[in-house]
């Protein structure tokens, strides 16, 4: 009997290590049914699921933050390699761009002076300066369903749902959910993203709609609108969710079905700035409401506008 024993193999033991034909346990079909149920609930965007999901994500965010520590050097090396590869081309591009910008700087200073004079003449109300907080991306979406990222700034840093999010290149998205120390940002190319924009020198108004692709579409333009590839696209400020003039990208593709080539590279987001932009149009005091009609505050309305919607194509907006 002793000869049948081995340090790692006990041939005399029965039961615990099944040696018969492979078996699927009962738990497996039960869990598959649960998965299908969850998928159905996700499809109809059940509010209970959305709340539970965000609580778990918030609770687990320290794990992601800790995992980012060893990832940082890896990403740094990746960036270094990528930078080395196209260094010559980048240098040539920067030289050309620098020449153009020097001309533009001179012109911008002249226009700025002129604008100040005009504002003083017309007694224009000054636009308030927008404060911001910069945070790190700790998780992003992968797959066919959503385009969103998770950042490590939340209510503790005074981040609220609805706030616009930018990086050095332009608009990236807006905050849709916040926890104590983390938030989720819906990217501008997500299927559910709809942003009022102005296009080109003639400020043609349109709506930029994401479709989970790299280049969002331009919709609802006036029939006689003339836009050309290369025209600038920026937020229009209509609806008050975004401040006016945040740059987004340039028009690209067929003028009959134009798309927007985004300035910000949404694939390599590292640090994002959240603008503390409280929608001025919705900032109506509660006591200014019509008697008998309950008016929600700007924050409540922001939260309502920014509430998560189903990640499906029929998501209402």
């Amino acid at each position: 009997m002793g000869r049948l024993r081995h340090d790692k193999l006990n041939l005399t033991r029965r039961g615990s290590e099944p040696s018969g034909p492979a078996r699927i346990r009962v738990a497996l079909p039960a869990l598959v049914l649960i998965c299908l149920g969850l998928l159905l609930l996700s499809r109809v965007n059940h509010s209970m699921l959305a709340n539970a999901r965000w609580r778990i994500a918030e609770w687990m965010s320290p794990v992601l933050q800790a995992a980012m520590v060893p990832l940082e050097p890896v990403r740094h090396v990746g960036r270094q390699i990528a930078a080395q590869v196209d260094m010559t081309e980048e240098l040539r591009r920067l030289k050309t761009e620098n020449q153009k910008l020097a001309n533009w700087e001179w012109r911008a200073r002249q226009l700025e002076r002129k604008l100040l004079d005009l504002e003083a003449l017309t007694k224009t109300v000054q636009e308030p300066k927008i404060d911001f907080v910069t945070s790190r991306v700790i998780a992003d979406s992968s797959g066919a369903f959503v385009r969103s990222v998770m950042i490590d700034a939340g209510e503790t840093q005074k981040v609220h749902a609805g706030y616009p999010v930018i990086n050095a290149d332009g608009l990236v998205g807006r905050v849709i959910e916040t926890g104590l120390s983390s938030s989720r940002v819906l990217l501008v190319n997500d299927l559910n993203s709809r942003i009022p924009v102005v296009v080109g020198k003639t400020s043609v108004r349109a709506v930029m709609a994401g479709d989970n692709g790299a280049q969002p579409k331009l919709l609802f333009m006036p029939p006689d609108a003339k836009i050309m590839p290369g025209d600038d696209v920026a937020t229009s400020g209509t609806g008050g969710l975004f401040p006016r003039g945040l740059r987004i990208g340039v028009v690209t593709g067929d003028p009959a079905a134009p798309r927007v080539k985004l300035r910000a590279d949404l694939d390599v987001l590292e640090y994002l700035s959240v603008l503390f932009y409280d929608t001025p149009a919705l900032d109506v005091p509660a006591d200014a409401s019509v008697p008998g009609v309950k008016t929600s505050t700007a924050r409540e309305k922001d939260a309502r506008f920014a509430s998560p919607r189903p990640a499906g194509p029929e998501a209402p907006r």
């Binding site: 699927i24 346990r25 738990a27 969850l38 998928l39 992601l64 694939d267 194509p313």
Partner: protein, 170 residues
């Protein structure tokens, strides 16, 4: 020691799940292989020691990825449970040498990618682009070249020995 033999498989799947959720700065279309990384580990453990990986652990790993990536809940648990089922059903092939095991893994990866595409298409009620799924499966197969030896090292003290054969006589 015996407890560790159960912790190691679950921990390896959990680590790969967290890795799949991290922002690696990859283009969106190339990112499909990241959630397939836990599939490599799940299939490996299901093939070698299915009793060491409880179904609920696989379900939780998938659910966690859905939460992190903000995808519809239930999508990745379903895919991971399918990978586990394929591993368990292919257990017999696991005893027939490395080449058969490799073919089994390739077939499982292809089946899982096809299931992922089918479920996504059903969810959106329109045919999803199949190319990212194919690329994802291909890249996951390449990543398996790196992952499987690590899992093998982790499994060495507890798992069945590949070099041992029981014969009569001699």
């Amino acid at each position: 020691m015996r407890a560790l033999s159960y912790v190691v498989p679950i921990l390896s799947i959990a680590v790969l799940t967290v890795i799949a959720a991290l922002p690696w700065g990859l283009p969106t279309e190339e990112r499909f292989f990241l959630p397939m990384l836990p599939v490599v580990a799940i299939h490996y453990w299901a093939l070698r020691r299915p009793q060491a990986v409880p179904e609920w652990a696989i379900f939780m790993a998938g659910l966690l990825l859905d939460v992190f990536t903000h995808g519809p809940l239930g999508y990745w648990p379903l895919i991971y449970l399918a990978a586990y089922a394929l591993g368990v059903l292919g257990q017999d092939t696991g005893r027939r040498g490395k080449l058969v095991r490799l073919a089994n893994f390739a077939a499982a990866l292809a089946a899982v990618a096809a299931l992922g595409w089918a479920v996504a298409s059903l969810y959106f009620l329109e045919l999803a682009d199949w190319q990212p799924y194919v690329r994802g499966a291909g890249l996951a197969a390449l990543a398996a070249i790196l992952i499987v030896p690590i899992l093998h090292i982790l499994d060495a003290p507890y798992g069945p020995r590949d070099d041992m054969s029981l014969t009569r006589g001699g």
